[in-house]
Every structure is written in C-alpha cells, then in structure tokens.
Symmetry: C2
Subunit: 210 residues, 2 copies
C-alpha cells in the first residue's frame, strides 16, 4: 500500500476541533503521513481557543496527496474571514491545484476553498450558518455531513471533521481501516456521504476481500 | 450566573482530540472561563500528533472549579504512562483536592486520576482498552461514555470528551446551554450519562423555565 501524504493547513483562528478530528483519525492509520503546514511557511499560529502552535511545515502542496483546510472564527471576522480578506491562503490553494490532488475542508474551511475558486459550480457543504454565504460565493451547497465530489471533499460544521477523516480513510484504504479508526476513537461515522458522479471512491479497493 | 472556571491540564503526549472536544464545547458558553495549564507551569508541550503548544498557564487548581485531564499515548509507554511514572502530575492532582472542585477526565486521562488516588473505589470509566488497568488501579470501572460521580466525572475513549463537555455544560448551566453548543458543533451528545447517587447534577437549575 502506497503511503498517503496528508497536509493540514493552519492559520490564526483555526478551530481546534475542526482539525484535530480528522488528524485523530489519520493518526491511527499507519500508511498516512500527516503534517501541519501554513500558507506562509513555518510560524507560530494562534488557534481559535488561544493555543499557540509552533508549525514547522513549509507550504509544499506538491508533496501532498490530500490537503485539509479547517474552518474557524468566521462569525467574528477573524479566522476564515481574515484569511479571505488577506488572500494569501486562498491564492496558495488556487495555485496548488493539480491532477490527483484532493482538497478537503471542514466547516467554514469550505469558504476558503470558495475564495480560491475551487467550489465554483460544484457540490459542497460547510457549517450550517455559512451555507448561504457559500452559495453566494458560487458553491453549490448540498445536504450531507460529507460531500465527496472527487478531488473536492467538503464537510459540515466542526465535528463533521471526524466524519470527513473516516470517509477519506475508507476511500483510500477501505472500510477495514476506517472501522479500526472508529474503534480506537469510540466513534462511528455519522450520516450518508453525498457522493457525486465525480467521486472516485474507492480509489483503493479494500485489501484482501474475505 | 456565576462564571465557571475550567482548567485543562496538558502534558507531552496528550491526545489532541481528547482535549479539543470539551474545549470546543466550553468555548461556546459565555460564562465559562477556560485556560490551559501544566503541572509544571508554563512550558511548551508536544502533543500526541506532534503539535508543539506553548502553554502559559501556571498550575493553580485553587483558581479552578473544574479540572479536565485528557488522555493520550497510553499504549506506547509515553503520554499517560510516562506521567504515571514521573508522578508529578498525579501528585499535583492529589494535592489539588478540595471540597467543590470537580475533577474530570477523558479517555486514558482517568488513569492519571487513578494514579492520584482519586478513583479508588469509585465508579468511573476510561478508553475501552484501559478498563482492566483502571480496575487494577482501584477504580470501579462501569459502562457509560460519561460517568458522573459528583466531584469525579470521567468519560470513555477519545471522542467521549465531546460528551463530557456537553454534560458538564448541562450540569452547570442547564440543557439550553448544552443544546446551543450541540447546534454550533453539529453534534448531539451520545449515550446515557451514568449518574451515581453522588452526582450533584443539576448544580444549577436551568434558567428561566418557560
């Protein structure tokens, strides 16, 4: 099994639960190489609850198979809103596009993808309070805790990140790996994944059908 | 409504999902003052997935109404196991006991409470792989994602921290506050809380019965 390289993009105001959910899932799967990055390279990021995190990862989307973008701070003009105004992160995401790269988001992280032009005319979702804004930015907001449109995989509010992580593990490694993560996390993936015709899942068939 | 002061204790190897779950809940409730501390005072903590967190909070359990202890790293001899060997954190927790202080744990964080003597002969829970060890350390392990024994409130594996946070909010502020947090987090508390005769909930009745 080829290792899957996943990068989580952090920024000031990112909501911890948005990214720790999927990262907790990824940490259980041996064949996932996970790292944190920022669009500006190594720096200290202050997250939504005031955690100061030293992020050492350079911006290197060419080294990623999956990029995960959390949300956070949308309601109060910080976090996602600030990143949209500054443009650095959306522009970096727009520039990262390449065949085979999966871009995923949790919660209002989808609005950062929208600001990057990645959701225009495509089925996607976000936190329920931001659905209208997502539509206004050109995304085709649809129901579902997880919406898989192939190289664009988005998820709903905050805890939906757990479901996103489990779905990505199922898609790349099959249901056995996802079930193992569920057991360790004492959590079962919630809701039907909205798979579109672009959805390539499963990319890898489940190993060793028994 | 009096503000409730909650401190989350961090240490090297703490599992991010264990503490970000309850902290995400607490962050939604205006009358909760939350801070991170370590048993050794201000320092940089490296969490389970390798996040380097700058924790500025001094050890000050006298300023807390609730102390939350996450788990992490138990299986590989680091994290909780290392803290039990070093004794600093268990001893600090043992010394923090006072009437009115609620000590809570997520996942294998309960084993740190056990090492502090806080679970001896008392109903409690932990991650399912650690239940036998908890019993061997004197805890009366019982089923339930959340076990409320009054000034000792423990929870099961990893994602049970979300349920712990929601239960503590319900206990201190009533169901309306917990429901508000559920809506924001797009999560509904799972499982029946195992309340014992020591459980004081609800400490505060729900405000303004309508």
């Amino acid at each position: 099994m080829t290792s899957v390289r996943i990068q989580t993009v952090l920024y000031d105001g990112a909501e911890e639960q948005d990214f720790t959910g999927p990262v907790a899932v990824f940490g259980i799967v041996e064949d996932i190489a996970h790292s944190y990055v920022t669009a500006e390279g190594a720096r200290t990021v202050t997250t939504n609850s005031g955690i100061e995190m030293i992020v050492r990862g350079a911006w290197s989307p060419g080294d990623a198979d999956v990029i995960v973008v959390p949300g956070g701070g949308y309601g109060d003009g910080s976090g996602v809103s600030e990143q949209i105004r500054r443009r650095t992160l959306p522009d970096a995401l727009a520039g990262a596009r390449r065949p085979g790269l999966v871009v995923a988001s949790v919660c209002t992280g989808t609005l950062l993808l929208a600001a990057a032009g990645l959701t225009t005319g495509r089925p996607c979702t976000t936190h329920h309070v931001a659905l209208d804004d997502l539509r206004a930015m050109g995304g085709e907001a649809v129901p579902g805790r997880v919406v898989d449109d192939g190289d664009l995989v988005t998820s709903g509010g905050v805890t939906s990140g757990l479901d996103l992580g489990l779905w990505l593990v199922e898609r790349f490694f099959g249901p056995d790996a996802a079930l193992q993560a569920e057991m360790v996390l004492e959590y079962e993936r919630r809701g039907t994944v909205r798979r579109t015709t672009r959805s390539q899942a499963p990319v890898h068939p489940a190993p060793d059908p028994r």
